[in-house]
Symmetry: C2
Subunit: 218 residues, 2 copies
DNA sequence: TTAATAATTTAGTCTTAACTAACAAAATTT
DNA sequence: AAATTTTGTTAGTTAAGACTAAATTATTAA
């Protein structure tokens, strides 16, 4: 099945909304909002994707991805994350720069390219944000997530990804000096305002609870 | 200046036709033929490119690229050839597979990506087909073609193409074990009969002058 | 220099994927 | 249960960029 960049973007957005909400469905308006496209336009595209048996819904009903639609979306996620890994590991892009470029690269059509890239990167399991890279066979499971806010005082943990991946947040993280796989120790919890003091790379910083809740760790 | 994939393809085609013919101009029909698009459609796009000051022509006249159009085209060629080099050198694609994928990759918009890629590949000067890679500054000159017969003794060179592509000659080349981009050293020139001894892949063979004159190198 | 041929342009159509405005159905309030 | 609000759909428009057919200009041959 050969899809346009556009159709691929719809599938990816659907996948994102469905997986994020862990709800197995989403709605026209939500999708329109996410893509920044009018609901009317989205409605038109959904009709098309339905005739291609990639999404599944009836008039005024909720949207689901078909098996095939889901499979294609998973492969797009795989491509996106492999490219992010390439940009980060091999080309020295920073953490917050990889997404935008990978957004373009993921649409390149060549199975061989992805297989070779995967091998070149030595079959990575996580992208630079710590997200799991689906396998070639389409296996994709989301590991249970834990935030920095849940780690007991005194314990160590490792940064693997962030919840809010806005540029502003990512830049703040970078400015703090926190990098992917930074080893972090919880020095103290301030019960007064729920902030916490953490230590990494030999320095201590104080962060708010809101910040801690945005940082996923292992 | 932000161009669509389409506009970029037109500029690249124009550049190809103009540079190949070494004529500094081309025509609507020639361009249409090359792109596999009807002359009428090409005419429409040319109008658009003219208003963007990327091509230069008047009604019923010959087509030229403007300085800016040429500069953009050169950068596309640069991107294309850097990606081909990446696919060949790093991912292990064969030389006849790289073009199709590079055709897609060249449209990725990110100056940083190209700079980083160039550095990662250690600033290659030639792509896997032996073609020159334009510099970041847009310098692009086609070097005069050189045959194996012109390489001084002791020097290294790389096979890029052949002059005589008869089956007999190609079979002989293959039998010798010479492949595209084989790294060759000129061991010795026998002045008696102008034959030369070359070394590649750790083995030495003797070839006639006639043979050497049929092999282009870089 | 006129006729024939080739090259180029114009005019009008099609498809895709966006849009707005108006309408219809579903969900929520009162 | 009726009114209101939210959500989803339809209809009609627009912009690219392709197309064909027809018209125009250039070039070549007679």
């Amino acid at each position: 099945m050969d899809l346009s960049k556009n159709e691929e973007d719809y599938l990816k957005a659907l996948f994102y909304l469905i997986v994020e909400s862990e709800n197995d469905k989403t709605s026209t308006n939500q999708l329109a909002e996410y893509l920044g496209i009018s609901p009317a336009s989205v409605n038109g595209m959904l009709k098309k994707l339905r005739t291609k048996k990639l999404v599944d819904y009836q008039k005024y009903g909720k949207l689901h991805l078909t098996e095939q639609g889901r499979a294609i979306a998973v492969q797009l996620v795989r491509k996106h994350r492999l490219w992010e890994t390439f940009l980060y590991d091999k080309l020295g892009f920073s953490w917050d720069e990889v997404h935008e470029v990978a957004e373009q690269l993921e649409h390149i059509q060549s199975e061989k390219l992805i297989r070779k890239l995967d091998a070149f990167l030595e079959h990575p399991s996580n992208d630079p944000h710590g997200a799991v890279i689906p396998t070639e066979e389409g296996e994709y499971r989301i590991p249970p997530k834990k935030t920095l806010a849940e780690v007991p005082a005194g314990d160590f943990c490792k940064l693997v990804s962030v919840k809010d991946s806005s540029v502003a947040f990512l830049q703040y993280v970078t400015k703090l000096g926190l990098a992917l796989s930074s080893r972090i120790r919880i020095v103290e919890r301030i019960s007064f305002d729920d902030s916490l003091i953490i230590e990494f790379d030999g320095k201590q910083v104080q962060i708010t609870r809101k910040f801690a809740e945005n940082v996923f760790v292992v």
